[in-house]
């Protein structure tokens, strides 16, 4: 724990952390939305029925 603390203390402007993270999240979110929207229709229909198809 001390080892990590020591090096982290050297970082200036720690508040950049949340901003970077927000950016990472937005990027990921946009990618996921694009993937979901462009997903193959047949695949989506098949996946949807999975809980019902077997027993």
């Amino acid at each position: 724990m001390k080892l990590a603390t020591h090096y982290l203390q050297q970082i200036e402007n720690v508040d950049i952390f949340p901003i970077i993270s927000l950016f990472i999240f937005m990027t990921l979110f946009v990618l996921v939305v694009i993937r979901a929207v462009t997903a193959d229709k047949k695949f989506i229909e098949d996946a949807k029925k999975m809980p019902l198809s077997n027993d």
Binding site: A36, A47, P51
Partner: protein
């Protein structure tokens, strides 16, 4: 393709279902006892094992980890096998998961009752049980991932993504929040101190709600709701988006539990922002659940199972809307430390977790036992009892929360607290607490009805423990991406890579929140005057943790005028650097104790007051709901581990001098003798070796380090000039009596009392006053107080008019 024959393991599902039912009943019953204790303190039975401070963690852990935990395993073990068309990976792991989990539950209940706790909410288990939890949890994960790898279905359905995310996140949370150094077999100190501990704890606490009570349940919803409604989920695309958004954002929102508390601003803002963003993915889940029933709402009328599920999903939507609302700083200023939080979690717990589990059991048990539900009518009655129970539970608690927070914050026209006596704000809540017991009883009765109904169902059918099934083997596909295959789809059929991506999403948020906290220098400014606890205070602190005092008392004065007026100087980050664990608390059933040791402060009480109060709280504070703690006075303090505790603290960086551990017990005894001698001078004969002495030492230490010396304050009050003539009109004297009864009785005895024995303050109705007999003398001592002895400066607590009246009442009383 060749058809393969395999067998679903139904026996493990059955076992988990039985455990869900059993622990559900137990957890609800313990909750009912806790509710009774708050309405009627007699239900604490003066018995250490069942006081509220120990019952409350038993209740919360029983509901979260025993009832909901077993419900998750029930649903997961049933749906994983069917969605992947494979038996569970390993039968031994399944059994180990089941029996290990039940063993943990029993150990938890026993150790909590015995007072073994780490004092961190929802993570109270001591280190040997923590290790066991980690082991069993990993067994579950390996079993699940193993099944995914040997599956006979190409695509991994969204329910399983949720189970995977839950497994990974809970594993990480549990490990990070349980890094502790053992003192002995059943005692350890957490490595984090003060504000760091608080951030780690609420990062854990918040995400325990997220990844134990929410994501696995969304998995259950995505499987059992389509099953019960017999139609596919509304939008699979929406489920993809809301899955990734939910698991990514949840991890960041933890600091919203610590708003306006001693936490750096950037962390608070981060918590608020991400909490508000959470509404979107949460409602994505709710919309997907409810819309699955579009065009089929007529089915809901006939099916108790769907009724349970609809209310569950609606409850999920309500509490995930309320959660972000409570995370706004202006709402949180009002809601925090009140019953609002309790009401909020019970909407989630009773509706979302409880009702979804009930709905699932009503669907699953007849299915497993190849029969029909014994009585649909009883299931419907259960539904209505449960729904009414939720309303009778939640509505009074919201009412209680608004009442209390407004009373705490109300000031009179003169600018002093309208309700300076904390007890007044609690007494108001008792009728609401009685109604809550009614709500809990209704809900509990419904659950009992379900047990009967399910037992009858089980008796009428028979289970096939290894159910035969057929499916073609999974075709070998290239490990590489196929032409035309999207990245997400490719990932989904690669379980290991998929798992790693989920882990990354979960870790990023946690890291962003916690790593900067470790940078003590910029985020935790140290305060020169804050010193480590003495050995006696440390032992007293461990008693405070053992008895679960933090379940009702906070140690965190927020920077509001209403709080600094009531409790004293607001809390600073640097005050808590030696607190392993932190004890800020989350609910004020009793007043804040952060400044209880400040002799000149508003919260100060003498040693003898504390002694009598622990023995019988209602003797000192009329209507108090606090349990009595007679065993603290009877039991000897064990000093067997004092030296070890000091050296563990040294390992954690608490600056005791080198070699202090050996001298610790001597110092402890010296301090204990001083306190016992002080009590003796006040007519209380108690051996210095008793536990109560340590607890008093700890309480009297709180807030002392950062407060200026008593002498400095005294100097200011010397010069006050008093010009007081007693009022004599009957109206004022009667009004004065009312003021006396409300504020003075606790320390000075009933009106007319002339015998000072057993009282905290001197009797006031004899003829001699310690600080002078003239009206001016009596008025001055009342108005300015005698800080050294614990008499408050009542000019800060009562309007001038009432002050005049009460002094007049005392002086006019026929002696």
């Amino acid at each position: 393709m060749e058809q393969q024959t395999f067998y679903y393991d139904n026996k493990i599902v059955k076992l988990f279902a039985y455990a869900t039912i059993l622990w559900g009943v137990v957890g609800l019953l313990v909750g009912l006892i806790a509710a009774l204790q708050l309405a009627f303190p007699i239900f604490n039975f003066n018995l250490s094992y069942v006081t509220f401070g120990r019952i409350r963690p038993i209740h919360t852990n029983a509901i979260i980890f025993a009832f909901v935990g077993n419900a998750i395993f029930t649903g997961a073990y049933y749906s994983i096998q069917r969605l992947l068309k494979a038996r569970m990976f390993n039968d031994f792991l399944s059994k180990f998961n089941f029996w290990g989990w039940q063993f943990i539950i029993v150990s938890a209940a026993v150790t909590f009752a015995l007072g073994y706790t780490t004092g961190k909410e929802y993570a109270e288990l001591e280190w040997p049980i923590d290790l066991m939890v980690a082991l069993v949890w990993v067994a579950f994960g390996v079993n699940m991932i193993g099944t995914i790898i040997k599956r006979r279905e190409q695509h991994i359905y969204v329910a399983i993504w949720f189970y995977l995310a839950s497994f990974l996140a809970v594993a990480i949370l549990h490990v990070v929040n349980s890094i502790e150094i053992p003192v002995h077999f059943m005692k350890s100190y957490i490595v984090y101190a003060g504000v760091q501990d608080a951030v780690v704890q609420w990062w854990y606490g918040h995400n325990a709600v997220a990844f134990f009570l929410t994501t696995p349940y969304l998995g259950l919803m995505y499987y059992f709701l389509p099953k019960a409604a017999n139609r596919p989920v509304y939008s699979y695309r929406l489920s993809i988006v809301h899955f990734w958004a939910l698991i990514f954002i949840y991890m960041w929102a933890g600091p919203h539990h610590l708003l306006y508390q001693a936490l750096p601003d950037w962390a608070q803002s981060l918590g608020v922002t991400f909490s508000v963003m959470l509404i979107a993915p949460s409602w994505g889940g709710m919309v997907n659940g409810l819309m699955t029933l579009r065009g089929a709402w007529d089915k809901v009328r006939d099916s108790a199972i769907l009724k349970f599920m609809v209310v569950a999903v609606t409850g999920y939507g309500m509490s995930t809307f309320e959660g972000p609302l409570l995370s706004l700083k202006n709402v949180n200023a009002l809601s925090h430390f009140t019953d609002w939080t309790i009401a909020h979690v019970h909407i989630g717990g009773l509706a979302w977790n409880g009702f979804l589990a009930f709905g699932m059991l009503y669907w699953l048990i007849p299915k497993l036992f190849r029969t029909k539900l014994y009585s649909d009518k009883q299931a419907n009655i259960h539904f209505w009892l449960g729904t009414l129970g939720i309303l009778f539970y939640a509505v009074p608690l919201y009412w209680a929360a608004f009442t209390q927070t407004l009373m705490w914050k109300e000031f009179t026209a003169e600018g002093i607290l309208a309700y300076p006596n904390f007890m007044e704000t609690v007494t108001q809540l008792i009728p609401m607490y009685i109604t809550r017991v009614l709500g809990g009883t209704l809900y509990f009765t419904g659950a009992i009805l379900m047990v009967y109904n399910l037992i009858k169902t089980i008796q009428s059918g028979s289970i096939e423990e290894n159910e035969e099934a057929h499916a073609p083997a999974l075709a070998e596909t290239s490990k590489l991406r196929l032409a035309g295959e999207t990245i997400h789809r490719w990932l989904e059929r690669k379980p290991v890579q998929f798992t790693i991506w989920i882990a990354i999403a979960v870790i990023v948020g946690g890291a962003v929140e916690i790593i900067p906290m470790m940078m003590i220098k910029s985020n935790v400014p140290t305060i020169e005057s804050v010193k480590p606890y003495t050995p006696l205070e440390l032992e007293g602190r461990d008693i405070y943790v053992r008895e679960g005092c933090y379940t009702c008392h906070s140690q965190m004065v927020r920077p509001f005028r209403s709080e600094t007026e009531r409790y004293g100087e607001y809390s600073k980050v640097g005050e808590f650097v030696y607190d392993h664990p932190y004890q800020w608390g989350s609910r004020r059933m009793g007043p804040d104790l952060a400044r209880s040791g400040v002799v000149t402060g508003k919260m100060y009480k003498t040693d003898s007051w504390h002694f009598n109060h622990m023995l019988d709280p209602r003797k000192m504070v009329k209507n108090s709901m606090m349990p009595a703690y007679p065993w603290l006075i009877k039991d000897d303090l064990s000093t067997d581990y004092t030296a070890k505790k000091i050296s563990v603290m040294q390992t954690l960086g608490v600056p005791y001098p080198e070699g202090y551990a050996e001298k610790a017990v001597d110092d402890l005894k010296k301090q204990a003798e001083t306190i016992a001698a002080g009590l003796k001078a006040n007519g209380i004969d108690v051996s210095p070796s008793k536990e109560i002495i340590a607890l008093i030492a700890y309480i009297q230490r709180l807030g002392v380090d950062i407060t200026k010396q008593a002498g400095e304050v005294k100097a200011e009050t010397e010069e006050v000039v008093i010009d007081f003539t007693p009022l004599t009109d009957a109206e004022s004297v009667t009004a004065g009596e009312a003021v006396y009864v409300k504020n003075c009785v606790a320390c000075h005895g009933a009106a007319g009392n002339i015998d000072g024995t057993g009282l905290v303050g001197p009797a006031l109705f004899d003829t001699i006053y310690i600080h002078g007999n003239t009206p001016n003398d009596v008025f001055k001592v009342t108005s300015e107080g005698v800080p050294a002895k614990g008499m408050q400066a009542w000019k800060h607590l009562l309007p001038k008019k009432e002050l005049d009246q009460v002094v007049s009442f005392v002086l006019n009383y026929k002696k």
